[in-house]
């Protein structure tokens, strides 16, 4: 997809989301919040994992750090500063993690990132219990669901703009080359370490901001809620299903899956799991290259 069309499409869709808000009502807004949240997370995930093919399960770690940033700082400083802090914290932690994991590849990286998210969760719990005297934190910040809705639109626009910019930039080229053949990339003059860490940080920073945006919606967070590993898995599955190789791929996984969850949830609460699993299996067998792959084949 060429850039003017892509950017125009992002702007138009974002505009449509914003315009439609007054007519939504809480239910539809709630559904769209869910879709927007996963769009931002899955696109941010694919920003790094798509081109490098490093499958990360650390989404929940960065999301949770963002949520905790809100819990700790939400009442202490102006909101824009809180979101900025979340972005910085996510990026810094990701940089440290990125630098330490460069020797890992394939499934070792996958499980490492999962272990990392769990380690952070355990440490946060322990530190809260030991020094905070509590494990749950209340998030009473004057942020309404409508505010969250608009902030998520902004986050989505930001992540698409970021992705668009990265793709055209030297960084994006570097990552595609790394994903194709890391050895060639190195010998072509690409600082593989720097490129990977940089993008991992950018991607994590978006995830943290999303966590920070979402936290007030739940009034209460603890480590189990904020660092829920389901978030990592759901993001991974959505992005892979949509197709992580394209910037617009993950959203093609997010939207149908979110709607599928919703339909099954609303109509079959007692058989939700079975049906979800069955539909999932069917999709894996019938849509082997992701939704984006399906679209490209048709074209």
């Amino acid at each position: 997809m060429n850039s003017p069309i892509f950017l125009a499409a992002v702007a138009a869709i974002a505009g449509a989301f914003a315009l439609v808000q007054p007519h939504l009502g809480p239910f539809w807004q709630s559904l769209l919040i869910n879709i927007l949240m996963y769009t931002a997370l899955a696109t941010a995930w694919a920003l790094f994992s798509g081109p490098t093919r490093y499958v990360s399960l650390a989404t929940a770690a960065f999301f949770g750090l963002g949520a905790y940033t809100m819990a700790f700082l939400g009442e202490a400083m102006p909101l824009p500063m809180v979101y900025l802090s979340a972005a910085v914290i996510g990026a810094v932690v990701a940089a440290i993690v990125g630098l330490s994991t460069l020797r890992l590849s394939g499934v070792y990286f996958v499980i490492f990132t999962f272990g990392l998210a769990e380690l952070i969760r355990q440490l946060v719990t322990w530190a809260e219990a030991k020094f905070g005297g509590t494990v749950g934190r209340f998030v009473f910040v004057p942020v309404s669901p409508t505010d969250i809705y608009f902030m998520l639109i902004a986050a989505c626009v930001a992540v698409f703009a970021l992705g668009w910019w990265v793709q055209r930039s030297r960084l994006g080229w570097a990552l595609r080359a790394i994903g194709e053949d890391e050895t060639v990339a190195r010998h072509a003059g690409i600082d593989v370490t720097r490129a990977k860490v940089l993008l991992f940080s950018l991607s994590a920073s978006v995830m943290s901001v999303v966590g920070c945006i979402m936290a007030p919606r739940w009034t209460y967070i603890d480590a189990t809620i904020a660092f829920n590993p389901i978030i990592s898995f759901q993001v991974l599955i959505m992005a892979l299903l949509g197709g992580a190789a394209r910037l617009y791929g993950p959203v093609l996984g997010v939207v149908p899956l979110a709607i599928l969850f919703e339909l099954l949830q609303a109509n079959f609460p007692n058989h939700f799991s079975i049906l979800l699993g069955a539909v999932f299996l069917a999709v894996v067998y019938l849509v082997p290259r992701g939704v984006a792959g399906l679209l490209e084949k048709r074209r």
Binding site: T125, W126, V135, G136, I221, A266
Partner: protein, 399 residues
Amino acid sequence: MNTTRRAALGGIASAAIISTAHAQTGPIRIGYSISRTGPNAGGANVTTLPNYQLWVRTVNEAGGLRVPGGARRQIEVVEYDDRSQSEEAVRNVDRLINQDRVDFVLPPWGTGLNLAVGAVLNRGGHPHLAVTSVTERIPELVQRWPNAFFFLGRSSAASEALVTTLQGLQRGQGLGNTVALASVQDQFGIELVNAGRAALNRAGFRIVMDRQYPLGQQDLAPLLAEAARANPEIFIAFSYPPDTLAITEQARIANFNPRVFYTAVGTAFPLFRQRFAANAEGVMGIGGVDISSPRIRDYVARHTQVVGRPPDGWASPVTYASLEVLEQAIAQVGTDRAALIRAIGSGTFDTIVGSIRMENNQRIAQPWVGQWQGENFVAVGGAGTLTPVQFPKPAWRPA
């Protein structure tokens, strides 16, 4: 259970039709989002869901909910699974209120999820009958959410009632003053142990061990070995269902026989008694019921018949009682939610756990310490009709 109509994703049109048609005579629609799956499913399926089902069935078999004027209206249920996730719970409640347009929403299981949906219920003007939501900050919460009612009180009340019970045993039965504490690293566990530690110190007990362990940990042999070495008179674990069982079993393996053995959440589960059989005897835990009450006995019998197992001896009867409060309030003022919130906050209700009257949206007086005595988890501490403590706890027997 009654027939259930659910709005699929679209659903706007059908919801609109219903809202005009059912206004006065149709069924009363009650919705809930509950953790059928995920980490909370264990608790939700013991304490909350069975009681919702039992109550709906009981009411409908009696002809429906009584509304002012004497008419009865059937209950129609809309239910969702929140998969133990806060975001799903929020969305489900949003959907129940705004899409399915239910008349009332019953709360999910657990403090985290209750607080997550608290803001939505507050915005929607729905009464929030929070039961399985126990935290120290309830007084602050009811300021923010005057529609919310907390039926199980604050964490510190549980710990303080336990310490009072222990003091009674010290005075009357010669219980010593050494205590070993273990607590799960979870909000409730931490609040319990913080309050418990302070109360124990005030009461002059000597804490010889004070350990925490992570949520979900079922391998607690080192912890119990340490407790056994400390050889205290009293062992208190502010624990959760899976680890409550693990701690008890490990104590038995280690032949650790303090004179008071207390494990918190899950002790009151029928599962506990089923697994430990005669060894459950004398184990104390959070909760407890007044087994002398015929209404409780009737409730236990109905629960056993409908659900297929007895209820737990702590939050189950209170959950059921919270529904009775709702039922009686509806009979008084009908389905106007604002009037209903006022009625629940100011009325006195006769329930299976006795008379309930809210003080600042909280139920204060209730049994807090239970003990397995025979087949029953009886109330031995806190407020209400209490049974004398069986002391000391008999030593573990070989399985």
